[in-house]
């Protein structure tokens, strides 16, 4: 190598180093288990702790890093449900969001960790415990996107996996929310006699609100604005769908047509206040 080549190589190396230093450049791969109080181990330990009466266990799963709305969905519901159910409330949040904090706290929603969570819930549940499960992501018919770029995760969660996870909670009373495009196509998988299932759209429709600037998806955003412990399920649902219709009309979108199904053992729940779920 000539001295000219060496000088050029050195200059290129210096420039690369300088850019990396200034730019903060590469993100270290995240620890899948999370950190501190919000690590998976800490959340599962809290979920297992006894409560004064039946526990209300919220499982929030943000499967994709493609929009902050997915993390926004599970965190706003977590905050509202915690205030609603008080000392009986437990939550387990898993999220594949793009890291914005200095240290990633929430565990990743990997297929292995999701299997572990539902297996553990099956072990620790009491007969009267209630579950509220939210899956939020992009979707296709019968599938949800599972993606986290820093962790090199790029796959899908199919109806079979979701069916297995929901079956592990049966026969406890369970409220499932799926917020994604085509999420109505997953309702058969999550249904059961003790399940109330909500989807953001019909099986062949898209739903809105999963852009890079959305703080929640349209469906969960509307649901969160309607949540009130004193309201009946039917009222919450009517408020939620009316709000979505209004937003979609303003955008001239033909309609996502959110869906709800009540299992055979929970018919009548639509007339009960949320506090009695």
């Amino acid at each position: 190598m000539t001295s000219l080549h060496r000088a050029a190589a050195l200059a290129a190396l210096s420039l690369t180093t300088a850019c990396a230093t200034l730019g903060g450049a590469t993100q270290a791969p995240p620890d899948p288990a999370g950190a501190g109080d919000r690590s998976l181990a800490a959340q599962l330990a809290r979920a297992a702790a006894p409560a004064p009466g039946p526990r209300y266990v919220f499982v929030g799963v943000a499967l994709s890093d493609d929009s902050p709305a997915f993390l926004g969905d599970i965190t706003i519901l977590d905050r509202m449900l915690e205030h609603q159910y008080g000392a009986r409330y437990r939550s387990i949040l898993l999220s594949n969001h793009e890291q914005v904090e200095a240290v990633r706290e929430l565990p990743l929603a990997t297929p292995e960790q999701l299997e572990a969570v539902f297996a553990r819930l099956r072990e620790i549940r009491g007969p009267e415990d209630r579950f509220i499960v939210v899956f939020t992501s992009h979707g296709r018919r019968g599938k949800l996107q599972l993606r986290q770029r820093d962790a090199r995760l790029q796959t899908t969660v199919d109806a079979g996996a979701i069916e297995r996870w929901m079956a592990s909670l049966a026969p406890n009373r369970t409220w499932v929310v799926i917020s994604s495009c085509y999420s109505g196509s997953l309702l058969d998988a999550v249904g059961g006699p003790n399940v109330v299932a909500m989807s953001a759209s019909e099986a062949d429709r898209m739903s809105l609100g999963c852009g890079t600037l959305n703080r929640t998806t349209f469906f969960v955003g509307a649901l969160a604005r309607s949540l009130d412990a004193a309201k009946r399920f039917a009222e919450v649902w009517a408020d939620t769908t009316a709000r979505i219709e209004r937003w979609e009309r303003e955008l001239k979108y033909p309609g996502s047509k959110p869906q709800i199904r009540y299992g055979a053992e929970v018919r009548g729940l639509e007339r009960a206040p949320l506090s009695e779920f």
Partner: protein, 262 residues
């Protein structure tokens, strides 16, 4: 960080286009409170806008673009209530105010003009006057204090966002680097304003205080929103915003007592 002259709080203009466009949802927290007047300040210190008023009603409006949990709403109103009571002003029980506003609002069809189908500022002002009239009869309220939460813009220079008397880093922790100091532009931010209304709903006072950024610059220049769950989760930020919004009305407030245990 580039040094800039400290930005003075900008007077909140209730007629600003962003607010005109916004549809507001009136919401009211129902929290118990101990009535009574705390140590009254010297008479000369009383702001003219309150006149001889010893009793006010307090309410909260949240722009529909925001999701604010009921407990967080209650905490915000509690901050304002304590500030007012510390300054010697009695506050009508919040439940009473909420009930009156609910009934007036229903009668006024959410302040929507039936001819245009849109939010009407004159209808809203007239409605607030009606609310105050009812509250005067029921609870002796002489002014209506409305706390408004709304989305505004922060100006960014030197990597720092500044708006309504506060400043925050404009870049997320995970994306901070030497380049952060070169950041400039605009970001969405959350502010609160305190509006005082009198006879016939006339606006007597309006002042903003910045609460927090609603978005920040993330990796690869992406704008990353702050999530709704985090909007009002920091009591220090809330207290700072309340102080900024009330300072011209009540003067410098002493340290606020911790909220009473429920």
């Amino acid at each position: 960080m580039a040094s800039e002259p400290e930005q003075r709080p900008v007077r909140y203009d209730p007629g600003m286009p962003a607010l005109r466009r916004a549809r507001f949802v009136l919401t009211f927290a129902a929290i118990g409170l101990a009535a009574g007047v705390a140590a009254a300040p010297a008479e000369g210190a009383r702001p003219q806008v309150l006149g001889d008023a010893r009793t006010v009603a307090l309410a909260l409006e949240v722009q529909d673009a925001l999701i604010v949990d009921r407990v967080d709403r209650a905490a915000l109103l509690e901050h304002v209530r304590r500030a007012l009571e510390t300054a010697g002003v009695e506050v009508v029980p919040l439940e009473t105010t909420a009930e009156v506003i609910r009934s007036v609002r229903e009668a006024a069809r959410d302040w929507v003009d039936p001819a245009t189908g849109k939010f009407s500022r004159p209808r809203y002002a007239a409605g607030m006057g009606e609310v105050l009239r009812h509250l005067r009869e029921r609870a002796g309220a002489e002014r209506l204090v409305v706390v408004v939460l709304w989305v505004t813009e922060a100006h960014v220079s030197g990597g720092v966002a500044r708006w309504h008397g506060v400043e925050e880093p404009a870049v997320t922790p995970a994306a901070r680097s030497a380049w952060s100091r070169l950041r400039a532009g605009k970001l969405e931010a959350l502010s609160l304003a305190v509006n005082v209304r009198g006879e016939a709903g006339s606006l007597l006072y309006s002042e903003p205080g910045g609460v927090r950024l609603l978005s920040r610059f993330g990796r690869n220049d992406k704008i990353t929103p702050v999530l709704d769950a985090e909007l009002l989760d920091d009591p220090d930020r809330l207290e700072r915003a309340v102080r900024l919004a009330l300072a011209p009305l009540l003067g410098a407030l002493p340290a606020l007592a911790a909220p009473a245990a429920p």
